[in-house]
């Protein structure tokens, strides 16, 4: 088996090196548990710990890691060149380990548990087992169950001798269920009478067998709750996976802004579940959404049995509740759950409490009312896919599209208006730097060095310093085009827009044929609301470079619309989309600008409708409706502004509903828009947001939080 084999579902199959390599978040817990094993082995203290967490959160991984670390017998380990936790080699003569793995299906009594322990010991210590105990254990099958139990107890005691036995016990809750009260009492009596065993166990939740005061094991185990992964920890996990698999592309991608955003998207879907991150790591780097669709479909297919198995672990009543929550998609009250499942409120409450403890559902309370929903949106999506034969897939893909692109867009929006220019500037600057370094730029003078240094300072956001350097360059040579141009950019960044235009004008005086300075001039004039002049600058930029300068076209269209030259603007948009049919750069950034201009242009319902219909028809013609739907979503923060009336927001919603209410591509966008408008009308009641599925709600919440920035 490949030493780097990554198992999403059976961590116990992974090598110790792999387990260590992708270990995140739980170093302290594991080190502490090993210390407790040491204490249990070296003294009469015996510790009993229960690792608690939902399925997929990494319980087996943690157990496997403890197992491997304890198995190392030769002093200090090093792994990947890093010092490891001190190895308990002194335990060699003091500790035995029996690992009862996840599927101990055969345990239904204390005797069965004893036999399982023997099987685990036989695997760990075959020599001792075969020579000293095998025949005795075989003989057990000749005895009655009671006699065999007593005999097995004695054999185990003899096997352990003066050592301590560490029982690594997965799914202790299941084992306790099978043992029943009688078996639990036998188990506990054995622990108390012989003081030979320490236990590290796992369970999905704190279960009654250890938490009810009437249970034999009440308070016996100390719970250790395994926390869900935070986004940073998920990033760390994915980085480690990339390192392990020597996937440089993934490693670099994870650190990129888009990579971080994609992790965020998966984070919302995964609900902190380790397993899901490991699975999604395979296609995190796909460049386009189209490339993503196929692996996502495949992953959903792979995950479905996992979520089905998660359902199998529940009682029929709990399954019914989960199924209802899947069907609803959004959060619902206990009352609704009770009604829809035909159970009493009290039963629904207690089942939900248990489901919550097991990590299947989360709850949000408003006064005395609690709303419940599924913890992992992916569980719902997978089960829906199975049930509805593919219909939700499209919606899911649409959702992913929003995530993947919206996040990127947000970053750009944050940069606007000032930094949008800066982005181009840096690009330009780096290009110059490259030329400079490769010797293609005319160099050799101090002036050029000043410009280069100014650019460096600008990149580092030391704009005042940059400005000084550019001005020094101008002082040396008042006809230095680059110096005037760069000065203009820096003044723009410093908010001195009028001075920036003057500097650009000076650069144009020196060199009238650089499309870029015209573009910058246009953009800066636009900021000053000098629309006609800005339009002229854009026209000039396009005239100089009609093939290469993509942004100028779409920004120019924005100006036309802003100048109420609707017909011309829409016509140019259609043409531009024809002209740049393959351009990937055309995205929501421009679309949102157009939508915003339409929104601001009037409050007349019918005019909105007519303009938006034209816009929809153009996007439809060019098969980029999905870009438009994202534009609709990204417009929401503007509607949330305090200066926008509820009536205007509602009219806007109804306009969109009348145009696209029947189009499935708009389903998610209109759901967002409707919820946002109702949220506004309710003066910010969170209850309204609970109408949306969790993953959509989290996205909308981010948009709502942006309102003040818009």
């Amino acid at each position: 088996m490949n030493n780097n084999f990554l198992s999403s579902f059976t961590p116990s199959l992974m090598s110790s090196q792999t387990l260590e390599a992708i270990f995140v978040q739980r170093h302290k817990i594991v080190e502490h548990l090993i210390e407790l094993v040491r204490d249990s082995s070296n003294s009469k203290n015996k510790h009993f710990r229960l690792l608690i967490g939902m399925r997929g959160i990494g319980k087996t991984h943690t157990i496997a890691l403890i197992y491997h670390r304890l198995k190392q017998q030769n002093g200090h380990l090093t792994h990947l060149g890093k010092p490891q936790v001190a190895c308990p080699h002194e335990l060699q003569d003091k500790l035995l380990i029996a690992w009862l793995k996840e599927e101990e299906w055969g345990v239904s009594s204390w005797l069965d548990l004893l036999l399982s322990i023997f099987k685990a010991l036989a695997i760990e210590y075959p020599a001792e087992y075969n020579t000293q105990f095998k025949s005795q254990i075989e003989n057990l099958y000749q005895l009655s169950a009671d006699d065999a139990t007593r005999q097995a107890e004695t054999i185990l005691k003899d096997f352990i001798g003066k050592k301590t036995l560490l029982l690594l016990t997965e799914n202790l809750d299941e084992i306790f269920n099978s043992l029943g009260e009688s078996g639990q009492k036998q188990f506990r009596a054995y622990l108390q009478n012989h003081n030979l065993i320490t236990i590290i166990a796992t369970s999905q939740s704190l279960f009654s067998g250890v938490s009810d005061r009437d249970s034999p094991f009440y308070g016996f185990f100390t719970p250790e709750y395994l926390a869900k992964l935070t986004r940073e920890e998920a990033t760390n996990l994915l980085t480690k996976i990339a390192e392990l698999q020597k996937d440089k592309e993934l490693e670099t991608f994870i650190q990129s802004p888009i990579g971080k955003d994609r992790i965020q998207a998966i984070h919302h879907l995964a609900g902190g579940n380790h397993r899901v991150y490991i699975i999604f790591s395979q296609f995190l780097t796909r460049q386009s959404l189209d490339e993503l669709v196929q692996p996502v479909m495949q992953t959903l297919d792979e995950l479905t049995p996992y979520y089905q198995a998660k359902m199998q672990w529940l009682s029929p009543q709990q399954r019914k509740i989960i199924e209802l929550l899947c069907d609803c998609g959004n959060a619902i009250t206990v009352k609704e759950i009770a009604q829809r499942c035909f159970i009493t409120h009290q039963t629904a409450s207690s089942q939900l409490k248990d489901l919550r403890a097991k990590g299947y559902v989360t709850a949000e309370s408003f006064g005395r009312e609690s709303f419940y929903e599924l913890q992992e949106p992916l569980m719902r999506i997978c089960l829906e896919v199975k049930k509805q034969r593919g219909e939700p897939i499209k919606l899911f893909i649409d959702f992913l599209r929003i995530w993947y692109t919206e996040k990127e867009l947000q970053q750009r929006l944050e940069m606007l208006p000032l930094d949008c220019l800066e982005r181009e500037y840096i690009y330009h600057a780096l290009k110059s730097k490259e030329e400079f370094l490769t010797g293609n730029l005319e160099v050799g003078s101090l002036d050029n060095n000043l410009i280069y240094r100014g650019i460096e300072e600008g990149i580092a956001e030391n704009n005042q310093k940059a400005l000084e350097l550019f001005e020094q360059a101008i002082k040396k040579n008042s006809n230095d085009y680059d110096a005037w141009y760069c000065r203009g950019r820096t003044l723009y960044k410093l908010g001195k827009v009028e001075e920036a235009i003057a500097s650009f004008d000076k650069a144009i005086e020196i060199n009238t044929n650089d499309y870029y300075v015209w573009y910058c001039r246009g953009f800066t004039l636009y900021q000053l609301d000098k629309l006609e002049e800005a339009l002229a600058s854009y026209d000039k930029a396009i005239q100089i470079n009609s093939d290469l300068f993509f942004s100028a076209y779409f920004n120019r269209i924005e100006l036309l619309l802003k100048l109420n030259r609707w017909e011309e603007g829409f016509k140019d948009l259609d043409n531009a989309l024809n002209r740049f049919a393959d351009a990937e750069e055309f995205d929501e950034e421009y679309t949102e600008g157009y939508i915003k201009i339409i929104w601001e242009s009037t409050t007349d319902f019918t005019i909105w409708k007519s303009r938006l219909e034209t816009l929809v028809s153009i996007y439809n013609k060019h098969q980029i409706v999905s870009v438009l739907t994202i534009g609709v979503i990204n417009h929401i923060p503007i509607l949330m502004s305090d200066i926008v009336s509820n009536k205007a927001a509602r009219n806007w919603l109804e306009t969109w509903q009348s145009i696209s209410g029947d189009k499935v591509e708009f389903a998610i966008a209109l759901r967002f828009l409707k919820t946002a408008v109702e949220y506004k009308e309710s003066k910010g009641s969170r209850k309204i947001l609970l109408q949306l599925p969790k993953e959509e709600r989290e996205l909308l919440e981010e948009l709502l939080a942006e309102k003040s920035n818009k």
């Binding site: 510790h47 004695t154 506990r188 054995y190 009478n193 185990f221």
Partner: protein
């Protein structure tokens, strides 16, 4: 570090790591010189830990034999277990349980070997038990103390199918105590023995089989000892504090000096950066009211509904509500407050419920006044209800 102990809430504590029980243990030894005892306490108060420490540190002139009996389901199993323990001990001295083996040989007609008493003699368990005790006493001089843990569980197991057997066992043990003055028994259990005896009485049992045994209550630690334990645990877990003694005292006080909760609280604090008073307060509040917390304090609320009669509910809740905000009240003071609620107007019911709350470890009587037995339960009740 000297005196440092790892937090081990609920686990098995090494005798040398049991803090603050020396006085109680000394008193218990004194009492055992006179008579057998029953150790009473709420669950997780440390009964087993105490008797295991006693076993480990027994004086030369006593022979302690510890056994957890919760897995025992019949009298013959019990006898077999006692006999195995005695046989195991005697074998270390080169002796054996001759009387038991003679009896079995006579009964079966062949030499008895092995560690399993044949089913055929099950009905003669009383004789076997007596002979086991006689074998032990004849083969050594010391006073024997059977530390029998979870006796109520064993009786409960038996009473499910054969309540008469449980009754007979209780009577037989009483008889053995009376017949053999060198035999002492120390019973402990997670459930009160009185619950089992009451259950048996409902099925016709009329004896009081433990009235010769002295009941010993296990109290929380003193504040000094609670603080000492907390200091050692803080050191054992290498927790940084702004003032270790103050924090330890804060912890001990907050959980009413119950070792189980001190262990828990320190365990919960082990990954905090620097522990100060605010951190402790926050951890306690979380532990008391968080439904996911293993302390499961809601048991104290739920038990009223699950185990008390319908008409007693309001009385129990009202009494606890009143005492949660007071230190100690006499019955008259309590009654004056209770009677203000139209749902608790019967004085006799109030007295009955008060007795139940005392027996179920909610309350304690000091002179003529009543208050919460454990500070931690009081704190929980206050948080929950007032």
């Amino acid at each position: 570090m000297k005196g440092a102990i790892r937090a081990n809430p609920g686990g098995i504590i090494a005798p040398e790591n049991v803090i603050g029980r020396d006085r109680l243990i000394a008193d218990t030894w004194d009492r055992l010189e006179q008579q057998s005892i029953i150790l009473n306490a709420e669950r997780r108060m440390g009964k087993t830990t105490i008797i295991k420490k006693m076993q480990a540190e027994a004086k030369q002139e006593t022979l302690p034999i510890y056994r957890d009996l919760e897995n025992i389901k019949s009298s013959i199993e019990f006898v077999e277990t006692v006999w195995q323990d005695v046989e195991e001990y005697l074998s270390t001295k080169g002796r054996t349980t001759k009387k038991v083996k003679d009896f079995l040989r006579n009964f079966q007609g062949v030499e008895f070997q092995g560690f399993k008493i044949p089913q055929i003699v099950a009905t003669h368990w009383k004789i076997l038990l007596t002979k086991t005790i006689e074998d032990l006493l004849e083969n050594q001089e010391r006073q024997v103390i059977f530390f029998w843990d979870e006796v109520p569980y064993m009786l409960d197991n038996m009473s499910e199918k054969q309540p008469e057997e449980a009754m007979e066992l209780l009577d037989t043990l009483r008889k053995l105590r009376q017949t053999y003055p060198n035999v002492r028994m120390a019973f402990t259990g997670s459930i009160g023995l009185h619950h089992i005896v009451k259950k048996l009485q409902q099925q016709g049992y009329s004896n009081d089989p433990t009235n010769d045994m002295y009941p010993i209550d296990i109290p929380p630690l003193s504040l000094n000892h609670g603080t000492d334990l907390a200091v050692r645990l803080i050191r054992g877990e290498n927790i940084q504090t702004d003032n270790i003694t103050n924090i330890a005292e804060e912890i001990a006080n907050a959980v009413g000096c119950i070792p189980f909760y001190i262990h828990h609280l320190v365990n919960d604090l082990r990954f905090k950066n620097v522990v100060n008073q605010d951190v402790v307060t926050e951890a306690i509040q979380d532990s008391l009211i968080n439904p996911q917390n293993p302390w499961k304090m809601e048991h104290y609320r739920d038990r009223i509904h699950n185990y008390y009669e319908q008409e007693q509910h309001k009385y129990a809740l009202n009494i606890l509500d009143i005492l949660a905000t007071e230190s100690y009240l006499s019955f008259d003071e309590l009654w004056n407050r209770l009677a203000l609620d139209s749902a608790s107007q019967n004085q006799e019911t109030a007295r009955d419920v008060l007795r139940l709350l005392l027996k179920d470890y909610y309350l304690i009587q000091q002179g003529k006044t009543y208050g919460f037995r454990y500070q931690i339960v009081k704190s929980y009740w206050e948080l929950l209800r007032t």
